[in-house]
Amino acid sequence: MKTVDLVVVGGGPAGMAVAIAACEKGISDILILERDKELGGILNQCIHNGFGLHTFKEELTGPEYAVRYIDKVHEKKIKSLLNTIAVDVQGGAPCIVTAMNKEQGMFTIHAKAVVLAMGCRERPRGAMNIPGFRPAGIYSAGTAQRYVNIEGRMPGREVVVLGSGDIGLIMARRMTLQGAKVKLVAEIMPYSGGLKRNIVQCLDDYGIPLKLSHTVTRIHGKDRVEGVTVSRVDERLVPIPGTEEFVKCDTLLLSCGLIPENELSRGAGTEIDDVTQGPVVNARLETTVQGIFACGNVLHVHDLVDNVSKEAQKAGSFAADYIMHGEEDWGEALRPKIPEKTKCALPEGRDEKGQMICIGCPVGCLITAQKNEDGSFSITGNSCKKGEAYARNELTAPMRAVTSMIRVNGGTGTVIPVKTASEIPKGKIDACMEEIKAAVIDAPVKVGDILIENVAGTSVAVIATGNMNKESYE
């Protein structure tokens, strides 16, 4: 049996922010339990950019965002157990956590407080009850993302994406960049659940159609997916007979929502909120069970990781207070503020009207822009300078950042995430990807290492966005 002050269950963005915040408040005896072989959680496979605008005031990729927290965890000498799964959590004074790993077997930890930060998981096909066969080739978008971005393997050639959540949109681009043909993205709602800028930079840029008010009504193929039937739905989201269309494909990606992962919370007896599907908490992010706190996607599914970090930081700080000063009156349940889900219906034909969606940040301003005869620009609708620059570029020389991965020899993994150090001309994306796909580098690699200089003659470098050690031979 071990005894510590604070156990954090989960070493993703939420768990790391909890531990760092608690440490900064003066709690030094902290243990993070992480089931994967490294800290960082799902961020490690989110190799695209768009993270950290709030937290770090700059645009980072998922692995880069994770590394900043991982470095801090190490710097503060916060202990973590990797490849370790928490099997059971019980509240009280002390809280008792039962965990398991290869080296220690089953073991219990007594902790003054526990913060739950297990994250969430994707809704599977079964939950959507799509009729048809059950072949190989149906992946939740996150599973496909893991295959492509971590294993460096392609799960198919011809793809239909169901659901236009951000992961689905990002995977549509990712699969396209790696050479797959993404036939379409079907969304049952009359609007997309993803960010506007992702519709622009993930679908529009690659000519991938987004079919709103459409869903997959049948899966074909006994062994491997051979196609799907896509149907239009009415206002009640019921498929309209006669609108069925067969789309040939070998892969169906599902991006149909996320569910907080609360097996441990339920096991601990925390009350669960029907609306958020996460534990009921008070203003101090304390669950209804003594000594157990919760934050991040376990509590409710957040749109942005920056918000996860912010919430987790509070949870860490509250848990530290609890450890130092003991229990206070629990007070009232307070449902975390859940920002209204983005309902992104883009104005049709916006290009003809000189309208565009700014991709500079998640806001996605609708900008009207044109180049006047005298060479000046009329740009309206943007809410910041970034928008103006974006619009001017779009009218003259559109620029995009590229994120992908490069194969690694002799490393602990097979691929390392990379990005262009700055934006490159949109027309150079294909040439840039060719060079990235052809490249193979030797481990070790560190964040920021230049892996390709002057990619596709753009004078922009391709740099590593993750760390990888050399494979160790024991």
Partner: protein, 485 residues
Amino acid sequence: MYDVIIIGAGVSGCAIARELSRLELKTAVLEKALDVCEGTSKANSGIVHAGYDAKPGTLKARLNVEGSRKMEALSKELDFPYKKNGSIVLCFDEKDKDKLYELKRRGESNGVDGLSILDRQELLRMEPAIGDGAAAALYAPAGAIVCPFGLTIALAENAAINGTEFVFGAKVSDIQKQSYGYLVRTEKQSYETKVVINAAGVYADEIHNMVSENKMKITPRRGEYLLYDKNVGNVVKHTLFQLPTALGKGILVTPTVHGNLMTGPTAQDILDKEGTDTSGEGLDHVTKEASRSIGVVPEKQVITSFAGLRAHITAYDAGRTDDFVIGQAADAPGFIDVAGIESPGLSCAPAIGEYVADMVKDLLRPSQKAGFISTRKGIPSMALSSDEERHRLIKENPAYGNVVCRCEMVTEGEILDAIRRPLGARTTDGIKRRTRAGMGRCQSGFCNPKVVEILARELQTDVSKIRKSGEDAWYLLPPKEGEDL
């Protein structure tokens, strides 16, 4: 020369193989799929029927009661999940109560023990979630639930360890009568044998018709099911049937032996023998009908749906189509049909094994095998083990400490066991049916890449060679193509 060739590694074929492996016989099982339990045996209700349903005097009635009585002991001998949870047949109309009594009488004449009639009050005490319309019920304490994969795999493994040969990817293309015995051909090989046992499920008619002029026709009867999260696995304790009406046999609501809730099946005759696809109408029908048995069907808790095909004989021997056809074909001595094994086939399996083995004994007069191993130990389940057992297992083999499937808590150690055992898994579905990895609420979203990787490592091949089930059920493109992309 083989003594016996069994065609089909479903529950019937495997039960027969296991019984024959007690005897000094050279036996092989030919299976067209890449694993055992790939047809009807994998997609059914998983119920051990008490035996009140079948018409007295039929093979179904006799083998059901016998099989159901043997199942519990067999589950201990061969270590597969079984639970005697009791069955309840609901009647929704006072007027139909006679039919309950009729069913009770039928059961009693079939030899089913402990049947009783419950009124609504008694019913409510036993199953508080029961629907408002349920007026009375027949209670059969002998009813049970079983893991259909667990049963089939256990029988097959035990047969294999006692010397039975299993050949996978072996689709029988032709059978020829020889002067003595038969020549059974697959695309890859030919097998000379004294006895052929046709346990080919929905394809048993095609196999039968290769040797007999008395033609058989099997029409697959599709049954669609919905499976729900373990969160709602305790909504009911017993298996709830509905009193059969003119409109059909009704939809059942049952806990599974693994703690999920399940509803189904529909009954639809189809043409396609591979037609295991679900339909919107079918699944809607299941939900609607299930809501008569339990007031609220937890629709949001569905984790998957599936369909299975019952092998229903629609033409044979002057309309003898309502019973199993088990026995030598009249014009083909030494060719034993085990055909039309629809419900309650799973419940009958242990009895079918013995029944058919007796036929083979009469034909070949084999001696008992010395050193027959009658017991089998399954893969340890970390999820079901106590903390002390878990700790001991991990200390014995650290791979038991590496959780691969979070939802069902399945570890690398269990997956390695599933691959390394006799008739070890070669596909992710094989892993799933042996360990439950991927059977949970995320339906393999998290564990699929890890299971594929472990399979590739163990089979010393590339991940692109790993299949879900069939030859064409690939997951990943070959590495070269992936790199070129």
